[in-house]
């Protein structure tokens, strides 16, 4: 009986495992502060932003206005594998930047976020 119990315990410990993984999707994060600090609403054009940041994830037409939306999605997961019990956690964060342009292709508003802290 004791031998069987020890064997099963050993089996669980031996077969236990863990996992760590990451999933990255989207455009390269190039909207760091040193880049966005050079942007001036009313002066910076859509071409200037495209030149600095490259092609966006999404171009949205808002009537006379346009929006360039940049998104980088990062999922990080950890897993505990014990055969009889497995636990996984996946945290997804969104690095993103959005730029609004008027009908003359001049920047009107923008906002960026990089590396959001994990939870409040």
């Amino acid at each position: 009986m004791f031998k069987g119990l020890s064997l099963s315990l050993l089996l669980v410990i031996t077969l236990g495992g863990c996992a760590q993984y990451e999933n990255r999707r989207g455009v390269e994060v190039s909207w760091q502060t040193q880049v966005t600090d050079t942007l001036v609403p009313g002066q910076t054009t859509r071409g200037d932003v495209l030149k600095q940041l490259g092609p966006p994830s999404q171009v949205i037409s808002l009537g006379d206005e346009t929006v360039l939306y940049y998104l980088f999605e990062r999922s990080a997961g950890t897993g505990l594998i014990l055969i009889v019990y497995n636990d996984f956690q996946v945290d997804t964060r969104y690095d993103r930047a959005v730029f609004f342009f008027d009908n003359e292709d001049k920047l009107t508003d923008y906002s960026t976020r990089i590396g959001e802290p994990t939870g409040d």
């Binding site: 099963s8 994830s57 019990y85 508003d109």
Partner: protein, 190 residues
């Protein structure tokens, strides 16, 4: 423990955290009093954005999805080749929706927060689990922005709906897990 190892095929828990928690009182101004610039300063870039007639809508979201499943082999009970599976999903979500007019002023805002059962099921299956008793794939899928260009190149029955598809940013937005049997998605013939 030996009995547990023999009987339990496995118990799995998946926890998905999408985005960061929102604050219900982040936007407490009267419509018309808040500019787009101020909104972006307070909330950062929206996660979803689309044009609408006379302006646009922006949305921020936070989701926590928990999926639990247990598989029990009935072999130890003398029923060889059968397994009993059980699964359940729980969701906690927050969604903030803002409508702006073409003058970059806030027109309306609404915040919703809910938690509840997102489904589940149980099954007795032979040899291998062919049926997934709990499915949260539509709740944890990637953001539609990644497929923006590709959406236009979908097979023709779906591509002809691209002018009205909510993933392209010019025909409204939709929340995760929205059923496709009615509404805009029902026009996407498959």
């Amino acid at each position: 423990m030996l009995l547990g190892c023999a009987v339990l095929a496995g118990c799995t828990h998946w926890q998905y955290n999408l985005g960061l928690p929102l604050h219900e009182d982040a936007i407490d101004s009267e419509p018309g009093a808040l500019s787009l610039g101020r909104v972006l300063t307070i909330l950062g870039p929206p996660q979803r954005l689309s044009a609408i007639p006379g302006g646009y809508v922006m949305a921020w979201e936070h989701w926590q999805v928990s999926e639990k499943s247990i598989g029990i082999s009935l072999g130890a009970l003398g029923v060889e080749g059968l397994s009993l599976d059980w699964g359940q999903a729980q969701v906690d979500a927050e969604f903030l929706l803002l409508t702006m007019n073409s003058n970059h002023k806030l027109v309306s805002h609404t915040f919703s927060k809910w938690s509840g059962d997102a489904g589940g099921g149980s099954a007795v299956q032979p040899f291998v689990g062919l049926v997934s008793v709990v499915d949260v794939e539509d709740l944890v899928k990637r953001m539609p922005h990644h497929n923006w260009g590709g959406d236009i190149l979908k097979p023709l029955p779906r591509a002809i709906n691209s002018a009205s598809a909510p993933d392209l940013g010019h025909s409204g937005i939709e929340q995760r897990g929205t059923p496709t049997g009615v509404g805009q998605r029902s026009l996407e013939m498959r």
